[in-house]
């Protein structure tokens, strides 16, 4: 689904990301882990064509992302709060994204009804603008919004951060269910090694912009990761 080739990103002659080759299969649930400054968000931003690569390229579903916009219809993402529109209510935001992805109101409503547990009654019908929701609830909105319109690639940057324990567990269930269908490729990053090993089939460790580990998740993975990150 996604191919990365000789990708580098430099700021002031300093390499922040350098990936020679990376192949992500369709339907794989892919986890990215690394300390601050390892290049996780930079990688996702490059994948979404929000920053320009210094060299190399990324192909998403057969489309070079920095040359064509044809990857946008089947790719959706939630990186941070800057993906939310503060002056809309959650419902309006969902419908707006639905409009962009050619889903009518009924389609969006049907999708939202499957997330009632996840929302825990704190999102819909609250008569609040997104800007006055708490950080955790904003995150819930952003994550669910990225599932609108049957995307083939979903990119989530640190989806577990700021969520309360119940919601974290529900999110794990949601992502595991998605991964089982083998139709949606989920890419996510996290600082929580336990969550990541539970949800992802494959985990890649970034360190100072380079891939240092590429693991197919097994029972030993958590130990291996903990060992790697122990200073």
């Amino acid at each position: 689904m996604i191919t990365v080739q000789n990708l580098t990103k430099k700021y002031n002659n300093k390499h922040v990301l350098s990936i020679t080759h990376l192949q992500i299969e369709k339907g794989q649930s892919f986890g990215l882990v690394g300390n601050n400054g390892a290049g996780k968000t930079t990688f996702f931003s490059l994948l979404l064509d929000l920053i320009k690569p210094s060299s190399g390229f990324i192909i998403n579903g057969g489309v070079r992302v920095d040359e064509s916009e044809a990857w946008k219809p089947f790719t959706s993402s939630f990186i941070d709060e800057s993906f939310l529109i503060g002056y809309l209510t959650p419902e309006e935001y969902f419908y707006f994204l639905g409009d962009l992805r050619h889903q009518n109101k009924a389609d969006v409503d049907a999708l939202l009804s499957t997330f009632n547990d996840f929302f825990n009654g704190e999102i819909l019908g609250q008569k609040k603008y997104l800007r006055s929701l708490s950080k955790g609830n904003q995150k819930k909105v952003g994550i669910v919004a990225s599932f609108i319109g049957k995307p083939e690639v979903v990119i989530l940057d640190e989806p577990f951060a700021n969520l309360d324990p119940s919601t974290q567990i529900r999110l794990k269930e949601i992502i595991t269910a998605l991964a089982k269908q083998k139709e949606v490729t989920v890419l996510m990053s996290s600082h929580d090694l336990i969550h990541l090993t539970e949800v992802c089939e494959r985990i890649v460790v970034l360190n100072q912009g380079e891939i240092v580990k590429d693991i197919k998740t097994s029972a030993k993975t958590l130990k291996e990761l903990e060992q790697f990150f122990t200073p």
């Binding site: 320009k52 990186i79 800057s82 529109i85 209510t89 409009d99 800007r131």
Partner: protein
């Protein structure tokens, strides 16, 4: 303890993001600041002579006192909109080992150095100096001055008690209107009575104690109020309003661009700064009256053409010059979403065009000042639609400054850069130059026809122009995303 507080205050002033603004904005702001200062000091110096020539039989001091009430209400209005309540800065101090009473005293006493307390003094001090030179008794003049000072400080604290309540705002506006209409319609000489009241401060120096005591009283009312409420969840927390939900179904008529149009309309209506732009546009409609009724301005003069371009294009220039920075807080989402850039721009173009048509329709009654006015406004609207709209959208591709929509609207220069200052010149200057040239060489009729024709040409090439603009946005995409991410730019 106060020394630490003072230190914090000084740092917060010098490290404020306002001071880090670009040179051009700083220069413009300093220029306006100095200009205002000079106007006020000048008013203070010449007030005496002015009143003496205008009302030779009345003591100027009495006349000044008659107008103090107006000044106070208008100052209160100004404070209501502009003066920040100082409580917001105390949050980080709450968990430190400092007594709440000390914090409160500091917050309240430091508010005395607010610029709004000095406004009146810029007029008052020169006026009093002039009075002393004219031989007015020093004791009376000085006590009057301190009386006024006491009243100003009282206003300062009353403003905190009002605390941005909308009802009080309505009341203030009502009082100004009542005061004005009572004296204008000569129903009841309230102004004169109030004038005598304030004149008392001058006549009987001992009365100076009254405003000083009210100032101290207002301070303690505030102190008691605040001291009990310095908790995170009470006065320090910003209140959230309930969301007004609207579906704007009528926008569906516009097909593909409907979602963007809905988004823009919601943005304008739900954010202070954009909402103000709408109100300013309507206010400017009335400002045009000033030009139409000016002496020596015929219905075919160049000034009227400027007014035509200005009133039909006021929303276009005010709103348009910050496109797409209005969307800056979520611009990276827009760029990662399934959004064809051309539709995004087309929706902005539609919004601006609608505003031009609306402003033209609102300005139709000005046909009262001559049929030419209607023709001029029509041709100017065409010009704005065909030439200025694409121009201002194209300039948007150079926009790289973030705008945080939830910041206040008044005197907010966030998002303004050199582009915004420079774009106004061709926007309003070009059509005037073209008109002048053709009017001098040919005639009024032909000149205004040329303006209209240019507009029609622009409108007929709309699609091609939008394509070019879209390309420019695409070329500058990465820089725009990076620029909009920078806070405090």
């Amino acid at each position: 303890m106060f020394k630490h507080f003072l230190n914090l205050k000084i740092k917060s002033f010098f490290r404020a993001s306002a001071l880090g603004k670009s040179l051009i904005i700083k220069t413009v702001m300093i220029f306006f600041g100095v200009y205002l200062l000079l106007v006020m000091v000048g008013l203070g110096v010449f007030l005496y002579t002015l009143l003496k020539t205008e009302f030779p039989n009345v003591d100027p001091v009495l006349k000044v006192n008659e107008y103090i009430m107006y000044w106070l209400f208008i100052e209160l209005l100004l404070r209501y909109f502009l003066q920040k309540l100082p409580v917001m800065n105390v949050k980080p101090l709450l968990m430190l080992p400092i007594k709440k009473s000390v914090i409160t005293h500091f917050v309240l006493s430091s508010s005395i150095f607010s610029i709004y307390n000095f406004l009146a003094l810029f007029v008052c001090i020169p006026f009093c100096v002039v009075l002393l030179f004219k031989g007015y008794p020093a004791l009376h003049v000085i006590s009057w001055f301190f009386g006024i000072l006491g009243i100003i400080i009282t206003t300062n604290y009353i403003n905190f008690i009002i605390n941005k309540s909308d009802k009080m705002l309505a009341l203030i506006v009502f009082f100004i209107a009542a005061l004005y209409s009572l004296s204008y319609l000569e129903i009841f000489p309230l102004r004169q009575y109030l004038g005598k009241l304030f004149y008392g401060l001058y006549q009987y120096p001992i009365l100076v104690l009254v405003p000083i005591l009210t100032a101290i009283g207002a301070y303690y009312v505030n102190y008691n109020f605040l001291c009990k409420r310095i908790f995170l969840d009470q006065s320090l927390e910003e209140t959230t309003k309930e969301a007004e939900v609207s579906e704007l179904l009528w926008t569906k008529k516009f097909g593909d661009i409907a979602p963007f149009l809905q988004l823009d309309l919601k943005m304008i209506w739900r954010n202070k700064r954009t909402k103000t732009q709408v109100f300013i546009s309507f206010a400017m409609l009335f400002y045009a009256l000033y030009f139409y009724t000016m002496d020596g301005v015929g219905p075919t003069s160049t000034v009227i053409v400027f007014v035509g371009i200005f009133i039909t294009g006021i929303f276009m220039s005010n709103f348009g010059q910050f496109i797409p920075a209005w969307d800056s807080t979520y611009y990276s989402m827009m760029m990662a979403q399934n959004i064809p850039l051309r539709k995004y721009i087309a929706s902005k173009a539609l919004l601006i065009s609608a505003s031009i048509v609306a402003m033209f329709l609102f300005a139709i009654p000005y046909v009262y000042f001559g049929w030419q006015v209607l023709v001029i406004n029509f041709c100017c609207a065409l010009y704005n639609l065909g030439v200025n709209t694409p121009l201002i959208l194209a300039s948007g591709a150079l926009n790289k400054k973030r705008i945080d929509l939830d910041k206040s609207a008044f005197a907010n220069m966030q998002g303004a850069g050199a582009v915004q200052f420079l774009i106004v010149l061709p926007l309003f200057g070009m059509p005037i130059l073209i008109f002048l040239l053709f009017k001098l060489v040919l005639s009024f009729n032909l000149a205004i026809a040329v303006i209209g024709l240019l507009g029609i040409i622009g409108i007929s090439f709309k699609n091609q122009l939008l394509d070019v603009i879209t390309k420019r946005y695409q070329q500058n995409k990465y820089e725009m995303i990076a620029g909009f991410k920078e806070e405090n730019s």
